[in-house]
Point group: C2
Chain length 342, copies 2
DNA sequence: CCTGAGGCTCGAATCGATTCGCCGACGGCG
DNA sequence: CGCCGTCGGCGAATCGATTCGAGCCTCAGG
């Protein structure tokens, strides 16, 4: 700490009180006369002392006042994904109002040793962002330290989790598309397993994705009786959505579904590029419900997740766990928002 | 900390060595035979001890291993701005490789009391993101604690800073536009002062913006002999860029300049919306050099800042300051990237 | 005037680890 | 054969605060 060398002991001496009394004057806990408090605060101001050292307080209290957030495997990618960002936003904001700090932890790559921060960072609990869940070693490293964790978008099998009912949502979308008469539906999914490269997926070979989010969303579509005529897996990036769109259009679909709004935006761009009218020639739908002000006239049909709320819930769960309580897993509803693209 | 109750003392006892020796076995500093180290590590594994408590270590060492990052006044806005995000990315990544953690600190609103995290968070130094600079109270709160700070995009007058040579960049752009024969240039600037509402600016009334970034960029344009025919100030959001574009087109400009790429994207959308051809009817240019994959065929003419690099530099400066060194302010060059929009 | 009850303040233990100086033992060299 | 240099391990002080039980002082009631 670059703080001044003045300690609470100095302040106490200057104020003519004991160390314990000085501590009380700052923490406010315990009985203390306002006269004494004033005296201590005055002495503190005099000496340029600006409050107790957080590290020392943490040590004594046994709590650090910090919650770790493990980003997806690729930090850069997480930062480019508006969904992750909004989660983060919800988390940081919620924690801040509770006086808790948010420590960003880049997850280690797939199989590397967990970053030293995971093992050496001071925190009371950790939130694992969607992308980070795949890295089992990360979870293990945290668990080994005895840190409680909350997963976003996880299965909830390993401790608390917060997730959307994506299966039910996708089912609603599937039904919506069927009502509109779409039978040839091509989908651009999220990766089927961690580290997967963008490209076509033969649904015959691997029927169910290993990645839980991808699996649940695909299950939802199928539950609505929609069996994709073509599948392309890709990361949640507009660029990859465009590439996916170009490839998927070869199957002459009447509807394109992206497993994220960014992907869907890419699909939309690819469709326009191919000279197709949306939604007359081909319908497009996404998932997430993020703002895409640059889509122009169109508003994307999508499944809206209450992203910031989920972040907030995750943060609250983490706080509960940090305080020694137990948090149960939570699923939130998604809502079908019909735009102009279906 | 939710860690197991086992302490280094327990491990030392179990291994039959002294506490100090056990510490050495983990830290690796100081002379210790590998036989002893093995013995200690074995005992630790046996007891389920996973390394020294970070908080206790921080207290003793006097360094917390954490650098704070103060976000712009509106956390939500910062998270929506790709530029902030990329700064953050550069910072987090750089710090992580050095074994340092990044603590996110939402800046207090304009005049509120500084958030308790600013005063109670454990950190060795702080980085102030561009938007946070305006809040003097924030800086004061940190300074009062004796924390060294690095500003991104600041004036460099208050301690170390990292910024782009935006004036020189804008001057290049101004010259580029003049070479292309543009004389009627309308600009959508960033806010002229903190907390400003979007809307027109009468350059006659207030000739120079209070916000340093806005001022420097405008100075650059003027240095190239470009005096805007109309000015609109707005936040770095596509929506506000669109609104700005609609308003600015009334002045029949031959070129539109946005002070950020998001704004410029909005200007571009507004121009297309008005049925104008770009760049034939109106040219559009931005500032930042971020990826905008959704712009379609067009690539924006813009001034590319090495954003992630700037984040990296800021992080390195913060580390230097945290280690007790001195960091000098740094200015990096921006590069004019001519796209298809001018 | 004496006693009981509060309300403040104080001492001291404690959180868990780092680190510096010191000491014992062992090996090499004169 | 003895002395000195070195390597490895140990004790103890220390980082800066929190917190609990004990003690004192004062005020009120009998």
């Amino acid at each position: 700490m670059g703080r001044s060398a003045t300690t609470l002991t100095d302040v106490a001496r200057a104020a003519g009180v004991s160390l314990s009394t000085a501590s009380l004057a700052f923490s406010g806990a315990g009985p203390i006369s306002s006269a004494t408090r004033e005296k201590v605060l005055a002495a503190a101001a005099e000496l340029g002392y600006h409050g107790p050292d957080p590290v020392a307080a943490s040590l004594r209290r046994g709590r650090s006042g910090v919650i770790g957030v493990v980003m997806g495997s690729a930090v850069r990618r997480s930062f480019r994904d508006p969904v992750s960002i909004q989660f983060l936003d919800g988390i940081v904001t919620t924690l801040a109002t509770q006086g808790y700090g948010t420590l960003m932890l880049p997850a280690s790559g797939s199989d590397e040793a967990p970053g030293s921060l995971l093992t050496h960072g001071a925190m009371d609990a950790a939130v694992l962002m969607a992308g980070a869940v795949t890295s089992t070693r990360t979870i293990e490293a945290l668990r080994a330290r005895g840190l409680p964790t909350v997963q976003i978008g996880g299965t909830g099998r390993q401790g608390a989790s917060v997730r959307a009912r994506d299966k039910e949502g996708m089912q609603m979308l599937g039904e919506h598309l069927r009502e509109r008469g779409h039978t040839r539906v091509a989908v651009a999914t999220l990766p089927w397993q961690s580290g997967a490269q963008p490209g076509p997926v033969d649904a015959g070979t691997t029927r169910r994705p290993a990645a839980p989010i991808t699996a649940r969303r695909l299950d939802g579509l199928r539950a609505a009786g929609v069996e994709p005529v073509a599948i392309w897996q890709c990361a949640s990036l507009v660029e990859e959505g465009i590439a996916a769109g170009r490839a998927l259009l070869a199957s002459r679909p009447t509807a394109l579904v992206g497993f994220s709004d960014l992907i869907a935006a890419g699909l939309l761009i690819a469709a326009r590029e191919a000279g197709l009218r949306v939604p007359e020639d081909v319908a497009v739908a996404g998932f997430d419900g993020i703002d895409l002000p640059w889509l122009g006239e169109d508003t994307l049909t999508t499944l809206v997740q209450p992203i910031a709320d989920m972040g907030r819930h995750a943060a609250e769960a983490a706080l509960t766990l940090a305080a020694g309580g137990t948090a149960k897993s939570l699923s939130v509803d998604v809502e079908l928002r019909v735009g102009t693209t279906t």
